[in-house]
Amino acid sequence: MIWRSVDLRRTALRTLLQLQLNMAASTFCPVLLPLSRINCKLNGIYTLISLNKTAAYSTGLSVKKTGAKTGLPQRGGKELRRQIKQVLQPRTERMAVDQDWTAVYPTAASFKADAVPLPVRMGYPVKKGVPPSKKGNLELLKIPNFLHLTPNAIKKQCEALKPFCTEWPAALDSDEKCEKHFPIQVQKKDYVFAGPSLRHPDARIVTLTVKLSSLNLDDHARKKMIKLSGERYNKDTDTLTITADSCPLKQQNHDYAMYMLTVLYHESWKIEAWEKEKTRADMEEYVWEDSPSQKNILETLLRIRPLSEQQEEGEVREELLGREEVQEYKDSVTKLKNEGETEGNMQQYKEAVKKLLSI
């Protein structure tokens, strides 16, 4: 609460009033009271004294009370004057248009409305209003801002970090060569963090990516590896991604990821005894041999051309399977099953069936 004590002409009146003021102070309650005026008459002169009680956080044009020579609040004494901080203009009005922005926001900091010279608005416009302005806007404070990462700032920082980097080997001038010579890629992140501790918890995470085509795997090993990695394998790009974050240190996680890769590789080459029991349901892709489709087509063809006594069933089988139409049919069915139903696939199937049944 702020007082304004009036400079009075008569000292007697002054001391009298001060007694009153002090008494009022002791019984003061921190509630906004309306303007109250006390009219006194002393020796025929009407003196208007107003006791102003206003809230503490008044901005704008409130006048500073104490003498400017000592800006310190004067405690005690006869006149209790509190100082209202005069904030006329935020910093933004003093900023030049061509200033160095990287000096204003050098590091990640929360949004400061008085330091950002942009008329930003954010928030839900209530009752056909507009989104609230930036002053005191909590929404702007909550979200992460990238004011410290302007292109200029990034350029400057990259320039500063260049001396820490070594040269890129001249021989590796294309992506394929990099793939060829360095198939395993390890990603690690470093953080500049300031808190009670300097260590950022995410700095321990290590991600290892490798393309399975660059590994020495045969068909079985490849399928087994894909089965073992599960979620970590991306079929579209043929990459295996191993993320290690269970150890507290980056080096430990790196070692663990490499160990994982090694183990996966060796395990996928091994053939366990129980792998023989792989059923048709476990197969990753559709195989036409020994499938109901093959049986059906053979039966159908046999029915069309009944068996003669000379020929044996096994030979007929072989001969039938070797026929071109049957091969085509096999291709089309395999495609349908593996790749799903598309226009082209269905057309192909239709053609193959027509040819086979000589329609």
Binding site: A68, A103, P106, T107, P163, T166, P169, A170, V186, L215
Partner: protein
């Protein structure tokens, strides 16, 4: 989002070699892929490839180098205040007093926290900081070892408890325990350093600055009052010294330096002769102390110099190499002498010995050469030479007088009115770590005040404005006089249109309550009629000032100048209604409007052709009994179309004016 700890550092001087290769390198070839045995294929390919892939050796660097490199990309923001303060509009100080208050309160908060941590250490045992920060953990300031033993004495010496240490020593002596010479020497060092009194409880550096502000003005004279006591007779140091079975050079050194520090100069010399009689040689610290004490034990300047020379000769004889502080002590001796040749010979000898001069050396030289203010006016060659020598070099603090160099040099530039030298000096401040040697905030403010007033005096307004934006108020909180100088510079270069903006700044700095400042601004604005936009801006500013005057409880009271100026500004901006209100304020405040104002009013009323207002104007003028009233009446009668009653009123007034004549 990483939590912010915004540190806007100054430009860090980039050292050439950031990296250390060679000896500290652990040979680590950066294998991006070729680690595991699984990639046999890739390994084969590397060896078989046509071009050889050369993987460069990994660089290693210091722990902080990356941060320093990134910090070097950041410059100073001229609109922000000091980085220790909170960056909020309500928490940025506007004046030096506020700045001091805020920084001191921060310091006091820190001290309070430190007090609590040290008083209740059991609540502050958990260590969050990684890596460990030892200065944030609780310190043991209380004595733990109570029994009479050497360890107890060592503990007391370490905790700087002088009286307790002396008591423990006496108890040990009584119990007959033999003590090593080193321990006794440590105790003597402690007693002599603190003058046989317990040191005052630890306070922040700023607190000391507050007490010794007036001390700063006496530059460099050893302070005998204000906190430093005298060397007492028969104090513990001497007593223990005499009891000691064997005295080494270190013991003598402790006593001599203690005596010099606390003002017992002749005793120090006696102790020195005693030492020589015991066939011990002194070391450089003893000689430094003696040279500092030399001017105090002799009366004539010549004798003082002879004594100093004597000491130096003895130093050479005893084969003791002088150091930087020796030369500083010698230069301080020469402070009152008039022979500049001696000063330069000392300086040359210092260079010949290969001791790099610090800023305090240059400060002492400048202090001796430019002792009188008038000397500076023509003879800035020495300062130029000094600046040439120190340009481009980064200095570290080596002597407490280092911080006085910049303000003295700027004072000389100011007295010599040499702006080029000032620019050179300011560029020295920007080199490397030299900004730290500007001293604490008080010295900084003085430096920038001198710099800015020189700029206002010498440079044209664009340069001044550029520096104004750069320095104020982030680095320098101008005094009222500084702002007046600035206004004068604006006036000289005819840039009065900037006054409304400057008025806002002045209000923010807290000088809006000073009546002479306000009156000066008003008179500058009211002096001549400006172009329309500028005039409107002036009118707004004048209304703002009027608002300040109108607040009943404000310290500003109406004066003749303020009323007149505001009215004329409003008139010139053609805000007749508000000017009319101003005119009505003259009477309650017992001021008389000047004639020119009345004439201006009449002219503006004529432009709007309101006869009633003209009559009212004449009535007002008559009420003040202005001598211009008759001419006004005449003009109104001639130039305006008046109704009958208006004419009557005028004739009444005329007659009353005639009658009063």
């Amino acid at each position: 989002m990483a939590s912010s700890c915004v540190h806007v550092g100054r430009q860090i001087h980039k050292t050439g070699r950031i990296f250390q290769r060679g000896a500290r390198d652990i040979l680590q070839r950066r294998y991006v892929g070729l680690g595991s045995a699984a990639c046999q294929q890739s390994a084969a390919e590397v060896s078989g490839s046509a071009e050889e892939i050369v993987i460069p050796r990994k660089k290693t660097w210091n722990k902080e180098t990356v941060l320093q490199a990134l910090a070097a990309t950041v410059n100073r923001d001229p609109t922000a205040s000091n980085y220790v303060l909170q960056d909020d509009s309500y928490l940025i100080p506007n004046s030096y007093a506020q700045f001091k208050l805020f920084t001191l309160s921060k310091e006091s908060g820190r001290n309070t926290a430190k007090y609590f941590i040290n008083t209740y250490p059991k609540y502050f045992q958990k260590d969050f900081a990684e890596p460990h920060i030892p200065c944030l953990m609780p310190e043991t300031l209380e004595l733990e070892i109570e029994e009479v033993s050497e360890a107890a004495l060592i503990e007391r010496i370490q905790l700087r408890k002088v009286k307790a240490a002396v008591d423990m020593y006496d108890q040990l002596q009584q119990s007959g325990t033999p003590l090593s010479v080193d321990l006794t020497n440590d105790l003597l060092d402690l007693i002599c350093l603190y003058g046989d009194q317990d040191p005052a409880p630890e306070q922040g550096s700023d607190y000391m600055g507050e007490d010794q502000e007036d001390v700063k003005k006496k530059e460099g004279i050893p302070q005998r009052d204000s906190g430093i006591s005298r060397w007492r007779e028969n104090n513990n140091a001497e007593r223990i010294f005499h009891i000691m079975p064997e005295r080494t050079r270190r013991s003598y050194g402790a006593l001599i330096r203690g005596m010099v520090k606390y003002g017992a100069y002749s005793k120090a010399f006696d102790m020195y002769t005693d030492m020589l009689n015991n066939r011990l040689t002194a070391d450089v610290h003893i000689f430094n102390a003696l040279i500092t004490a030399a001017p105090e034990v002799r009366e004539q300047i010549q004798e003082k110099w002879e004594l100093v020379l004597n000491l130096l000769k003895q130093m050479a004889k005893q084969d003791v190499k002088p150091n930087l502080l020796t030369f500083h002590a010698v230069l301080r001796c020469l402070r009152r002498s008039r022979h500049l040749a001696k000063v330069f010979s000392v300086f040359n000898e210092m260079k010949a010995l290969g001791i790099a001069p610090s800023l305090a050396t240059y400060n002492l030289i400048l202090g001796i050469v430019y002792k009188q203010a008038s000397f500076a006016k023509g003879h800035t060659e020495i300062l130029e030479k000094v600046l040439d020598e120190i340009s481009g070099k980064s200095f570290t603090p080596q002597d407490p007088d280092d911080v006085k160099f910049f303000i003295n040099a700027m004072r000389i530039c100011q007295e010599a009115k040499d702006i080029e030298l000032a620019y050179k000096l300011h560029s020295v401040v920007g080199v490397g770590e030299n900004w730290k040697l500007l001293g604490e905030s008080y010295f900084q403010n003085i430096y920038y005040w001198r710099f800015f007033s020189l700029l206002c005096m010498m440079e044209n307004i664009d340069v001044v404005l550029k520096w104004y934006k750069e320095l104020i108020p982030s680095l320098y909180y101008p005094t009222a006089q500084g702002m007046r100088d600035f206004l004068q510079a604006l006036d000289t270069d005819n840039r009065l249109d900037l006054i409304p903006q400057i008025w806002k700044d002045i209000k923010q700095m807290g000088y809006g309550n000073m009546s002479d400042m306000v009156e000066e601004i008003l008179s500058l604005m009211a002096r001549e009629k400006q172009s329309p936009e500028v005039q409107q801006a002036f009118a707004d500013c004048a209304l703002d000032i009027k608002g300040l005057y109108m607040t009943q409880s404000g310290p500003l009271t109406w004066s003749g100048i303020s009323l007149r100026c505001i009215t004329s500004i409003l008139l010139a901006a053609e805000r007749t209604q508000q000017a009319w209100e101003m005119l009505n304020l003259f009477k309650p405040n017992n001021r008389v409007p000047p004639e020119s104002l009345m004439n201006d009013f009449l002219a503006s009323i004529k432009a709007s052709n309101k006869a009633q207002q003209a009559v009212e104007l004449v009535q007002i003028s008559a009420s003040f009994c202005l001598p211009v009233t008759p001419s006004l009446i005449e003009r109104v009668q001639q130039e305006f179309e008046l109704t009958e009653e208006q004419r009557n009123v005028l004739t009444d007034l005329e007659s009353s004016a005639d009658m009063s004549d």
